[in-house]
């Protein structure tokens, strides 16, 4: 499903590579936490999986596509098979909840009929059916992240990439989001989540990949945030 082989990624102007000979396999249905300090390479790894960047060396395969050799014009079609959420939600402030979700379908050319069915469905799934006509500014942080999640999964992606989705949320709200991610994972979607949130990782006891200075220093099938937890 996701396979990285000896991946090295350097950015201009920094002597130390952001990722140094990283190899990682993620199977279908996995729920993987990427943990590590800031600058450890989590975000670089996520960017490679999303084909926002290509590595300097090594290979990246996601959903059967060789991302290193993937021509630019096919990148959009690859990304349609992925869902992404971020710490800062990235909602459009002038569109309602339903319009925000619908926008992501409109721009990939889905029919109006499909959109009219899929949007209420997914909003029901994330528990926001009542707030479909609200603007993001009228929602709490947790609710905004639910909208972002709804947008990410409305197109039924095989993989959900979550870059610190609970980074801006309080612990109780975070738990709600984690429950949602868990149920998304149970429905068959592979979830890769980069996080700093120790308590969440410790509580979930799922696969943990720890990065430090661009290298994987731990890959544990079911673990906590720190080595000794």
């Amino acid at each position: 499903m996701i396979s990285l082989q000896n991946v090295t990624k350097k950015y201009k102007g920094t002597p130390r590579p952001a990722l140094d000979q990283v190899s990682l396999e993620i199977e279908k249905g996995d729920f993987v936490f990427l943990v590590g300090a800031s600058g450890s390479g989590k975000s670089s790894l996520m960017r490679l999986m999303l084909r926002e960047d290509i590595p300097n060396s090594g290979s990246v395969h996601v959903l059967g596509e060789n991302l290193v050799g993937l021509p630019a014009r096919r990148v959009p079609f690859f990304r349609r098979k992925l869902g992404v959420v971020f710490q800062d939600f990235r909602l459009l402030p002038n569109k309602t909840v339903a319009q925000n979700v619908a926008f992501s379908l409109e721009v990939i050319g889905k029919s109006q009929g499909f959109i009219q069915e899929a949007v209420p469905d997914v909003l029901g799934l994330v528990g926001l059916a009542e707030k479909a006509d609200r603007l993001p500014s009228e929602l709490s942080g947790g609710e905004q992240q639910r909208v972002a999640l709804a947008r990410a999964i409305v197109n039924k992606p095989a993989i959900l990439l979550a870059d610190e989705p609970t980074g801006n949320l309080d612990p109780t709200t975070s738990e709600g989001i984690m429950a949602l991610l868990h149920s998304i994972n149970l429905a068959g979607t592979t979830v890769v989540m980069a996080t700093h949130d120790r308590s969440i990782v410790d509580k979930m006891q799922r696969r943990v990949v720890e990065l430090s200075q661009g290298q994987i220093i731990r890959d544990q099938a079911s673990g906590g945030y720190g080595v000794r937890s």
Binding site: R80, V84, V107, I108, Q112
Partner: protein, 304 residues
Amino acid sequence: MRFGFMFSEVAQGLRRNIAMVISIILVTFISLTFVGTASLLQLQIGQMKNYWYDKAQVAIYLCTDVSPEATCPRGEASEDVKTEVQERLDSPTLTPFIEEYYFEDHDQAYANFQEQFSGNAVAQYVRAEQLNETYWVNLFDPNQSQIITESFTGLAGVEEVRDQRSYLDQIFNILNIASLAAITIASLMLVSSVLLISTTIRLSAFSRRRELGIMRLVGASNFSIQLPFILEGVVAAFLGSVLAAGAVLGLVAFFVQGFLAERLPFTSFVSISDGMLVVPLLIAAGVVLAAVASGLAIRRYLKI
């Protein structure tokens, strides 16, 4: 991407950048009006050339008593000179080029002069002997006047051989310079309109960077991301070129046909149908230019 959705995106972009859009419209309007005027001037030159060049004759002016000493040391051309000229014109080397020729003597020249300058003070002072006797030559191909010039220049008793087109060429030169000036102004304006379009598109992309970021994340195709921006530039430039087309047609209808044609009745001027030829050119130029400029601008702004 569905059309309704795309057009709402385009309309939104145009509304957000209304001031810039208006300036694109005005700059393309003015620059394309210059382009249109220059093309009409070229058409006008072509038309006048067709009309006048066919009528242009080569004149072989014979010496008179008042001709300058340098070219006509022997004064008034003698009968021998006329016979000589006539023989040469009838010779097998020249006849293939000459459609017809005729001789104009002092009296006919005087009559023509009086007619041409009637009412002018000069008509009262000029005497028949002062006007050259002339052989007027019509060529099959007016471009070959060189042959006549070469055959008769320097012949004793011939004062001057003159292709009438040399007078016309001066007029055409002036018109050509005018159209060159119009083209120069037009190209400067077009450069600024291209720059303006790409700046506007970049501003528009910047003001929509959130949407663009999301579109890229969810996998909108490059084409569907870029098209609304390209259309934005194209719509603005299209409006400008329609205005320019209107201005050019107005120029033809009111200035050329309404004003010039009435005052200079014996000249053929460009007509509305010539103007209509220029219209698609202007609109195509505006649209293509805008599409290329905004396409390049958005492509540079939106690296995958």
